[in-house]
Amino acid sequence: MNLQDYTVSRSSRAAHIAAVLAALTLIVLVTAPWWAGRADMRLMGELFLYLSLATLWNLMAGYAGLVSVGQQAYVGFGGYMLFALTMFGGLHPLVAIVLAGVLGALISVPVAVLIFRLRGAYFAIGTWVIAEVFRLSFAQVSALGGGSGSSLPVAIVRSLASGRAMREALSYWLALGAAVLVVTAVYLFLRSRQGLALTAIRDNELAAGSLGIDIWRTKFIVYVVTSAFTAMIGALIFLQKLRISPDAAFSVNDWTAFVIFIVVIGGIGTIEGPIIGTLVFFALRETLADLGTTYLIVLGVVAIVVMLRAPKGIWGLIRSRYDLQLFPLGYRVQHRPHSKEP
């Protein structure tokens, strides 16, 4: 064995092919308003928003070890900010969406300071309490319709684009853009110094601490950034729905349970996992939705079985079989056969 027989690289042939395929797919998706029907576009828009939520939750739970069951707090907060800023602030919806993200980051700072005092599983329930506080607080605001909620005034909807087709296309592109932005941002973050620190913490908190990584600060940054993005996605979700109420905005089932199932089934702690999970989730939903509550029971059972039998999800199974990595994060050592040596 000779050390020179090995190369260390980050990219791989599969990753290059994946990048090319992703670019082609993206072009096809961008042109969807010209070839897809309205219902399909709505469905795809929703899919992109779920993909974004799942990617963000995965960053927290799968990489930073922050298991939240209260992300609906920021989805709802973002949605309500969209309504408040456009209705009372007179802002353009697009500006309001960005501002919702900024406000989401701001409010997440005191929240993080508080609930970071809770460890592990208790942190999870703490996030749920926060979501409940948000829900009950917004239900008290009568200007936003109190407990029964309100609809986005027609004038504001019109300000986005005058024609209905254009509005729907814009809404679709926003969702697609959000998904691309979130997945790219999380990928680049994980490749950065901070991201490597995060992986180190996940693998061994004690050792990472002794290496001088500020664990609290790293987790704090992840929490705040995730909250900001989640609030923006929330604003987009309710821009699509055009109607908001406390129960819909802060629904633990819609914005957390489904998201957790997506990530667990797809593969937690991988970038590819949420993408696969979202596709599987929507495929199941479109085929089993008629079953109603049974569908949710099936989803819960599948998630439990995956967690116990294949904790790295569908992507983990694929990767262990084919040694694939489409979003190369780690470096890999490859053996170069002697004959190819110059």
Binding site: L114, L136, Q140, A257, T293, G300, A303
Partner: protein, 287 residues
């Protein structure tokens, strides 16, 4: 007098919250498991009570004789069949599996019992009251509080004066060494979950007599129990009772100020205590 009344009612309500919390606290103490489905199991117990009372015409309190052992059996089976597989150093599996369980339970209850609110009919017990120094106290809240004290006393006694409690503490201290002493931790964990769900059964029946319930309310009950545990301090059952009482008072006093503020006031009290005393008011002294 209105304020005194709110505080007294809140104190009694705290007994119910302590019952929600006791099972949660017990299983965390023995196996460091936080069960997200705990609230849904409370609701399941209430529905089992409903089935038993409607099928047999029993009084809900008499139905405890059936519901408590049934829930204990479910607890043992659940622990040995499912939850034991999730235990280890990683917090993700227990959290996500109990979360999945919560969704399954909620929707299974919807399937069987529909979303219509239900209530357990306890006859005159629901309206009976006693006058006490100008206050009228409901017999049911008083009884709930007394039951909470009895249950916590009983758990405390089991923990510190029985072979089972000794085994709970030994397994909690060091699973490997406990195993070397002939204790099968899987069985001990099963027994702990059985005991916890036995207590949960009592909580569920009392909840069902007090208010109407539907399959969706489990999450809220989990949160109340959790808040009581954290306010009181981890690992301290009497502290949990105090935590429940503080939560109950915050809610009734909040409701007195504005009916819409009842739940919010409880959560805010929890967050304030988390801010100033992160280990709770009565953390267990180690050693």
């Amino acid at each position: 007098m209105d304020w005194v009344n709110a505080i007294v009612q809140g104190t009694l309500l705290g007994g119910l919250y302590a019952l929600f919390a006791a099972g949660l606290s017990l299983i965390f103490g023995v196996m460091r498991l936080v069960n997200i489905a705990h609230g849904d199991l409370i609701v399941l117990a209430a529905y089992l009570g409903l089935t038993v009372t409607t099928a047999t015409g029993m009084h809900p309190l008499a139905a405890l004789m059936i519901v408590v052992p049934v829930m204990a059996l479910i607890g043992y089976a659940l622990q040995r069949g499912l939850l034991n597989q999730t235990l280890g150093d990683d917090i993700l599996p227990p959290l996500l599996v109990t979360f999945g369980l919560s969704v399954i339970l909620q929707n299974a209850l919807l399937e069987v019992y529909t979303a219509d609110p239900q209530k357990l009919d306890a006859g005159t017990l629901e309206t009976a009251g006693v006058s006490f120094g100008g206050l009228t106290l409901g017999v049911l809240p008083l009884m709930t509080f007394a039951v909470a004290i009895a249950v916590i006393w009983g758990l405390q006694w089991t923990f510190y004066h029985t072979a089972l409690g000794r085994a709970f503490r030994a397994v909690s201290d060091n699973q490997d060494i406990a195993q070397l002493m002939g204790l099968n931790r899987r069985h001990i964990f099963g027994l702990a979950m059985a005991l916890a769900l036995g207590v949960t059964a009592i909580a569920g029946i009392l909840l069902g007599i007090r208010t109407s319930f539907d399959p969706s309310i489990g999450g809220g009950r989990l949160i109340f129990g959790f808040e009581a545990v954290i306010i009181g301090g981890l690992g301290n059952l009497w502290g949990t009772l105090a935590g429940g009482v503080i939560l109950g008072i915050a809610q009734t006093v909040g409701a007195k100020i504005d009916p819409g503020w009842q739940l919010l006031a409880g959560h805010l009290a929890f967050l304030i205590i988390l801010a100033i005393r992160p280990n709770g008011l009565f953390p267990r002294v180690s050693g």
